[in-house]
């Protein structure tokens, strides 16, 4: 293992993963499991589970996880830096172009076509999380549904900071789900 290998592998993952989230998974697997053997397939599966349980993009989580396991904190830093460097360069360039040329009518028109699509993609992502939250071991998870409705009402009515709403749901879930399991 060399730090350069680590950097280059995650640089490629950062550069070639388009579309975000799960789209990056096969790329990460190819580099980390198949090519370099840094993780076994079982460890890689654990990594996906942990990524879903912790905040942050899966590509960033993977680079920190793999980096730490094979090269300590320095390894984690090198891998994470490699992973976000392509984004930093390309997106900064795009940002500069966007703020410079955003008033051109064709750019305006393109963005006008894209805005509804982005709303649709946000809705679609939200719906997949909701389906996950409402799935019970046998049928509908009523507690999940109740928490969702309560959180939605609180957000609509009082415009509460979403972070408090998510934290509140987490605390309630942490107390109520184990209680519910005991009663069953």
């Amino acid at each position: 293992m060399s730090y350069l290998d680590l950097f280059l592998s995650f640089f490629q993952i950062g550069l070639f993963s388009f579309g975000g989230g799960m789209a990056a998974m096969p790329l990460i697997q190819a580099q980390v499991v198949d090519r370099h053997g840094w993780l076994t397939m079982a460890e890689f599966t654990d990594l996906i589970t942990i990524s879903e349980m912790t905040p942050g993009p899966i590509a960033v989580n993977s680079s920190t996880f793999v980096g730490t396991r094979i090269g300590g904190t320095l390894g984690a830093f090198v891998a994470t830096f490699g992973c976000i460097l392509p984004s930093c360069l390309i997106v900064s360039l795009l940002a500069w172009l966007y703020f410079r040329y955003q008033n051109l009518s064709y750019i305006q028109g393109t963005l006008k076509g894209l805005r509804p699509a982005i709303v649709a993609l946000i809705a679609s992502a939200g719906l997949s999380i909701l389906t996950l939250a409402l799935q019970g071991a046998n049928g509908i998870n009523w507690l999940g549904a109740l928490l969702f409705l309560a959180a939605f009402l609180v957000l609509r009515k009082w415009k509460t900071d979403p972070i408090y709403v998510m934290l509140g749901c987490g605390v309630l879930g942490g107390i109520l789900y184990p209680l519910l399991d005991k009663m069953m």
């Binding site: 942990i50 976000i84 966007y98």
Partner: protein
């Protein structure tokens, strides 16, 4: 200016700490913070930045924070928001990687996360309702139609996000061209 940098750093840091479930969650939270609460970015512009973040390589969350930072305070802002976005997952994963099986199998952790799923879904639902209103105000029925088409493509037919983005971009270009032609004829 220093206060602005600090707010930018703290905002991206807290948002990133609570971003479970991928790029669109962070976009919803960024919109709430920077458009609704701070008023630093217009709602429409937030969607433009989201579109650019989605069509660039790399993690959508990282790309979106770079764009938001750049918009708020230029290149320095972009660097600050990258740092704010990367730090929480970096620290959390570094710690967890030392004892990850205990974390993965912990009952309370699983229950808290399960509760948070409902909260995340509610936040996204709330943002979606507001954004549907924005789209309708801007482009009326046509915008809603594009939105429904993009949603069906993504949800029912699992079409790759990049194709959806490309199709809608082409639609936007085509529409501009038609409008220009009409303008020239009149």
């Amino acid at each position: 200016m220093r206060k602005k940098y600090w707010t930018l750093f703290l905002s991206t840091l807290t948002i990133s700490t609570f971003t479970f479930g991928g790029g669109y969650v962070i976009i919803s939270l960024l919109k709430k913070k920077f458009a609704d609460e701070l008023g630093w970015i217009e709602e429409k512009e937030m969607l433009n930045l989201a579109a650019i973040a989605q069509s660039s390589p790399g993690a959508v969350a990282v790309n979106a924070s770079i764009l938001v930072g750049y918009k708020v305070a230029g290149l320095a802002g972009a660097l600050i928001s990258i740092l704010g976005t990367i730090l929480p997952p970096f620290v959390i994963i570094s710690v967890i990687s030392l004892c990850y099986t205990a974390f993965r199998d912990n009952v309370i952790v699983a229950a808290v996360l399960r509760g948070m799923q409902s909260g995340v879904a509610a936040v996204i639902a709330d943002v979606t309702v507001n954004l549907c209103g924005t789209v309708y105000k801007e482009t009326r029925a046509l915008g809603i139609l594009v939105m429904l088409a993009a949603f069906s493509a993504s949800w029912f037919f699992s079409v790759n996000v990049l194709w959806i983005i490309l199709a809608c971009a082409l639609f936007g270009v085509g529409r501009t061209w038609v409008l220009h032609r009409k303008g020239e004829m009149a």
